[in-house]
Amino acid sequence: MFSKLLIANRGEIAVRIARACREMGISPVAVYSDADRASLHVRVAEQAVHIGPSASNESYLVIEKIIAAARQVGADAIHPGYGFLSENAGFAQAVEDAGLILIGPPASAMRLMGSKTSARIAAQTAGVPLVPGTTNSLATLQEAESVAEAVGYPIMLKAASGGGGKGMRLVRSRDELASAYSLAQSEAASSFNDASVYIEKYIDRPRHVEIQLIGDHHGNIVYLGERECSLQRRHQKVIEECPSPVLDEGLRQRMGEAAVKVARAAGYVNAGTVEFLLDEQRNFYFLEMNTRLQVEHPVTELVTGRDLVHEQIRVAAGEKLSFSQDDILMRGAAIECRIYAEDPDNGFLPSPGVITRLVEPAGPGVRYDSGSYQGWEVPIFYDPLLAKLCVWAETREAAVHRLTRVLDEYTIEGISTTLPFFRAIARDPEFRRGEFDTGFIDRFLDPDARAKRSNDVPADPTLADLAAITAVLHTKASARGAESSQPRSAESRWKLEARLAQRR
């Protein structure tokens, strides 16, 4: 087993990995940029190496600095977390070349699954269904017609050089195809300088369901159920659940076994996730594979009772998986909310600043993975994820009620966060019924939907009245504090001390 592990990451995931290290008798080493000197992930480490200026591309993304830090402290292994270098095959290779162990898959598997084309080919070879269609461009209208017939309407005509949701056209039937095809081509030519289009089956109101798996160096690969990740805003996940409300045991097994097949075909070792799209008939289609630990892994850990990071480290140290497929049982339901320092009332723009008060939720069934603390200044250089707030309960319905309770207890002051946004979602009837698809969040945030929610004035005005009365009391108290003999009121002196502490 390793004696020292360098964590090549920051924030909540670096804290989470450091905790696993302490639990396993491994010494955790942090790396930090200028902005992160007093961050929580440094506070929980035993050693910490400064790796440069605040910008990621001058610190956390610089392979040479990470390797040098590991050498400096004599670390045996490096955990890349998620994001940053975690899916960088060049980094995996550099770690290997340096005689160190990466807590993750081999560089070859990372390379294979990192490219969308080779990943799809690998999945296809493994006999796993893909989103039907072509990845090469259509040469003629006739080819488009025959592909469309084979795939089945409705289809999407997509620009080969397009992206970000642009250059896509929905075609519902054969009658529409000819004109859609020529229009799509001319749009593609003018927008992307490339008239090439291809076809993909249109999946209406899809669900995004992913399978967690882990493999060891002894040929064992086990799947640990699924996660439902359909609640996304601009293709970023905001709420994740385990299990998916629409999977039964049979479908779970089919998807799990398909995911394991793909992983085996890739020679995969350590933790990974295979992402699928589910259509309304519950057919699943391979999307891609993520060759790292994911942000939302806690919901899987809560429902299966397994610790994935412990297992990752053990696998990397050459041990066999501590469980077989038959040992994996799923119990209850877990939901995770990603709490970001973003302003939901201002286009979710980042909201940096000092967290003046933090009241962390507690009580039964709560798992709170955080990289923040009261008095911390949220830096502007990185993804503004403050914490992952997870709940577990025996049923999804109980988990939703628990989530509502926990979101109400959780308090963050001093910055804007997505907490109010989650409080509104937790109360939404469609969310509570578990009937949603990848379009839910965008519909929820639609200006008309928002206006309707804010105009739904509750019959009882008591809360608004109490808010107003308290605001008056607070204003008067603050004014009295300002007029007192002390040069600063207690509140502002506290804030000033917090800021001064940050500068030291």
């Binding site: 005005p461 008056v472 607070h474 603050s478 009121s489």
Partner: protein, 163 residues
């Protein structure tokens, strides 16, 4: 004393009298007889008969108070009708001068130690091809300037501190 409150954009007329821990208030046509305790800074425990409501309140950017009660969030702005001046709370202690939108600092007008008047420009931020002079919310002295010319800033980023 009478007040006007703007709660989530809705106007409420208030009368509030406070004697030690007892508050007698009217909001519009509704009357309230409350006991109030303050277990922590910014936390008010309102006892209304046998109901108890925990109200959390904090000052966001000096313009509004953020209030959470019963799982609901409100923004509050209080105007003292008698004295017709905006709430005092935003003027106590060091005040953050913040960027109202993301942009780029094109000029820093003052430096630490400089005296500044309320409403005087501290930093010029350019965004969406418009230049905005960001002004000090109070008279005082510049304690810190946290940005430099040419630097990009995010919405609500602290530009300077005035004490």
């Amino acid at each position: 004393m009478k007040y006007e409150a703007e709660i989530n954009g809705h106007q409420i007329s208030l009368e509030v009298e406070q004697h030690n821990g007892r508050v007698v208030a009217r909001a519009g046509k509704r009357s309230y007889d409350l006991e109030v305790a303050t277990p922590e800074r910014g936390v008010y425990l309102m006892f209304l008969g046998d109901q108890v409501h925990e109200v959390r309140i904090w000052s966001a950017d000096g313009n509004f108070l953020q209030v959470t009660v019963g799982g609901r969030q409100f923004t509050a702005n209080i105007i003292d009708r008698k004295h017709r001046r905006v709430s005092e709370h935003r003027l106590e202690g060091p005040q953050q001068i913040i960027a109202p939108m993301p942009g780029k600092v094109v000029r820093v007008l003052l430096k630490p130690g400089d005296e500044v008047a309320a409403g005087q420009g501290v930093v010029i931020v350019e965004a969406m091809k418009m230049q905005n002079e960001i002004k000090s919310t109070k008279a005082g002295r510049i304690l810190e300037v946290r940005v430099a010319e040419g630097e990009s800033v995010n919405n609500k980023q602290v530009l300077a501190i005035v004490e």
